[in-house]
Symmetry: C2
Subunit: 252 residues, 2 copies
């Protein structure tokens, strides 16, 4: 039977989602936990290939599983075999053709900036520390220009070649909450490092290096050099995913 | 000149506050940072000897310092020499006879419990994970019996011998905030492991192993066996300290 697992993880000690030789990854850690629980070798498909150091508050993975363990008991059973920095919150039986990656309608990432003169030890590896004052309202103005169907070639890094660099951004915003500035972006899909490049570009707006109304020119240029830097991995969280399935969709 | 430093730290990677042979401690790390900054060997006095894994959101240390660096520039200067899990927030020039430990009037510790069926990877080492449902109202009822001047021999661990086990607890409470239960305790001083024993005892009340009205008997017994277990270090934070000095007192 095909199962979907809702997970969260702290990415600091992992080399990203995808299985690698000689490096601990989330995918491999979950596959090994399932193998210890069921005694069978499995392949787990993840909803996104998060990079080294990137976190997930709401992540969905799918796996073909031959087990008598009821769905409601699966989280506790799997968590007993997983390290403290990965947690399974829910297990749902899904149609056989469901795949966490390909069945996805939209995903949301949140980029967390700790914008304070002094760092906070409790946010170590869990936010991007940025001591220069950011104008979150200007960043939010700029974010509005990112919404829509665009060629986002200017806002990505080189990675696995893709057929098209056109994506539809459904929501994009920046908001201050005390000394935390949160950038949220929801899209039908993201290019490699796209959210981190959006974050770096909005931070340039936040310090006045770019104006909100410069964003359309940056996008139209399709030139990575026109955008801001790629913000560090530690601030990035996958926070929501939508499949159009009530029992699976959510936010973290 | 005598200086007081306001600090916060994540204790997970340290063997507590106090300098030890062959183990990294907060005291040693701060002394070495000051030595790198000023070129002079120093002794830093801390307001409390937090144990391995215990955190501080508001901590005060004092040090005799011969420097021309103005107080307002000291936090940034020191933070440049400190690892990410320790931060200096403020530097205040204090009277020569000030000592972070002996000048203290009262301290507050907070014990953080993540009371949820499933663990939260982002609270790893930063809260005590406790999956069994806790009755925070009963815990708060029990906490009220701890307030006052008592012999707290029943609520401590064996440690460095002390002249008296009588302490005055000024505030003690337990409160739920979603799946977090916070126990706060303010006193003129604490015995070794006293807050962690109070936390373990209130958690026994939270699951019905003790009743709130059992607490006076537990205290009167002066018998450690009558109290609950010592709760783990990772949930404990120093959160406030009072010297009766406006520029130094605060909460974190």
């Amino acid at each position: 039977m095909k199962k979907a697992l809702v997970l969260s993880y702290l990415g600091s000690n992992y080399h990203g989602w995808q299985r690698q030789k000689n490096a601990a990854t989330i995918q491999q850690t979950i596959e090994e936990a399932i193998e210890r629980l069921t005694g069978k070798s499995v392949y787990v498909s993840g909803c996104g290939r998060t990079d080294a150091g990137v976190h997930a508050r709401y992540y969905v993975a799918s796996v073909e599983l031959d087990t008598t363990i009821p769905d409601e008991r699966m989280p506790a059973a799997l968590n007993a075999h997983l390290p403290e920095d990965i947690a399974v919150h829910k297990c749902v039986t899904v149609p056989d053709d469901f795949d966490a990656r390909f069945s996805c309608i939209s995903k949301e990432y949140t980029y967390v900036i700790h914008n304070s003169r002094t760092r906070n030890p409790f946010l170590k590896n869990q936010a991007c520390f940025y001591p220069q004052q950011l104008d979150a309202e200007a960043m939010n103005e700029a974010a509005k220009y990112i919404i829509g169907k665009h060629d986002f070639a200017a806002l990505k890094s080189e990675g696995t070649p893709v057929k098209s660099t056109v994506r539809t951004v459904l929501e994009c915003s920046a908001e201050r909450d005390g000394d935390i500035v949160r950038i949220k972006a929801r899209a039908d899909g993201f290019l490699y490092n796209m959210v981190r490049t959006i974050a770096g570009t909005l931070m340039y707006v936040g310090i006045g290096k770019l104006k909100p109304e410069d964003i359309p020119k940056v996008i139209e240029s399709k030139d990575r050099e026109q955008a801001g830097p790629t913000a560090p991995a530690c601030g990035l969280y996958m926070t929501s995913i939508c499949y159009g399935m009530e029992e699976l969709d959510g936010k973290g």
